[in-house]
Symmetry: none
Subunit: 236 residues, 2 copies
Amino acid sequence: MPNKYTILIVEDEKNICTFLSALLETNGYRAIVAHSCREGKMLYSSYTPDLVVLDLGLPDMDGAELLKSIRENELTPVLVLSARGEEGEKVRLLDMGANDYITKPFGPAELLARVRSALRAHRHAAEEGHFPGGVFCLDDLTIDYDARRVFIAEREVKFTQTEYNILALLSEHAGKMMTYSAIIKAIWHEPTGDTSIKKLQVNMANIRKKFGTPIGTKGYIVNELGVGYRMRSDME
Amino acid sequence: MPNKYTILIVEDEKNICTFLSALLETNGYRAIVAHSCREGKMLYSSYTPDLVVLDLGLPDMDGAELLKSIRENELTPVLVLSARGEEGEKVRLLDMGANDYITKPFGPAELLARVRSALRAHRHAAEEGHFPGGVFCLDDLTIDYDARRVFIAEREVKFTQTEYNILALLSEHAGKMMTYSAIIKAIWHEPTGDTSIKKLQVNMANIRKKFGTPIGTKGYIVNELGVGYRMRSDME
DNA sequence: ACACATGGTAAAGATTTGGTAAAGATATTG
DNA sequence: CAATATCTTTACCAAATCTTTACCATGTGT
């Protein structure tokens, strides 16, 4: 029924290209391949893909520029492929609006999972700018944005203002990795520094404490070392 | 005694039916159950419920048809229950005017939160600031908007103009957190500042004093530090 | 395995915030 | 105009919270 999702791959290494496009094609996506950022830019505007897989460290132009030109109009999800040693670049692109990243080397299952997750989260966000009914749900966690109330397994849990703000922010972007600087800017409107990251970590600890950390269950919020936090999405 | 909200459940699976009706009944709603769309249509016109929980994929008739027949006259909120994989159908029903959807499997907290949210939104949209019959009820508190009179446990209590305005405002948005700035703008038509928040706080103190703060009972109005006030709702 | 960096957590101190009473200021009423 | 009610401002206290600090656990690279 719905047309295939079109995925634009921007990657210079030939064998990764064929691997990716074969993988995506056999899983029901339409794959378009660009071997440089310039080409990616052109193909993007002619195909308007549903998702972009962007490799860092392409020779001809900065991946950031491509991302910026995509973000000027659309909010098409962008997955960043990064090799080791490109940590800084990775975080920079996440800050600029990339939705997720995958560190090389990666397996087919991981890539497909991230692609699915990004597509679904994006479709949800697009359908009605926000969560229908103003309610967010993830496993036992329920957030009622209008009432500004949070429930965990039927029982209301009180969060302080900053704790709630963090929760609301992460849940509104569920499934998307949010960098420290993005979170700090949104919550405290101040530049990121050592102390502000500490504040964030303390708040996260308090939030987790109130969640009660059900043993055996993976927490609602995941941390990625050196990058930021992500709230799990109920459809990943 | 405040009238219970009546909720019509249209669902064929027996165990989901009993789960839903038990859940809703224990939370202060009146639940009516229909096991088919035909039955739902009939029960709808005889009970005129305040909200409908509609399962997709009923055998006898398309849920869409029931939704359409509801939407012909009323704008009663409709929550759609959908299983995974019925994404397309779900979107279609949202387009046709369903207010929210819940994906199976779902927990009790999620259902209750979405029911509350839908009732709240609908109530607020329907009356231009007034309740059916021009009366608001919450536990011992009764507000007669037409007469501009307030009763607590059968006995009238005199409120000043601003006190009444605040009460009316909060009760009209019962269940929703109202920020300081929203309240101040509505009451004094002036920008929010330190002094205006103080005014509001003093008024709240006076209101609470007149309520008599029955010990052991949670107050009618809840404060969220740094955010605003929320009047409890009879459906929470 | 080691050193190093990063994140988690608890607890103390500093700060902000809300509640309340009471004193002016303003408006309303007879 | 006086008497009264209401509104606004001020001051102070208690409690909630934010921030900082220190220390421990965990992960990362060599």
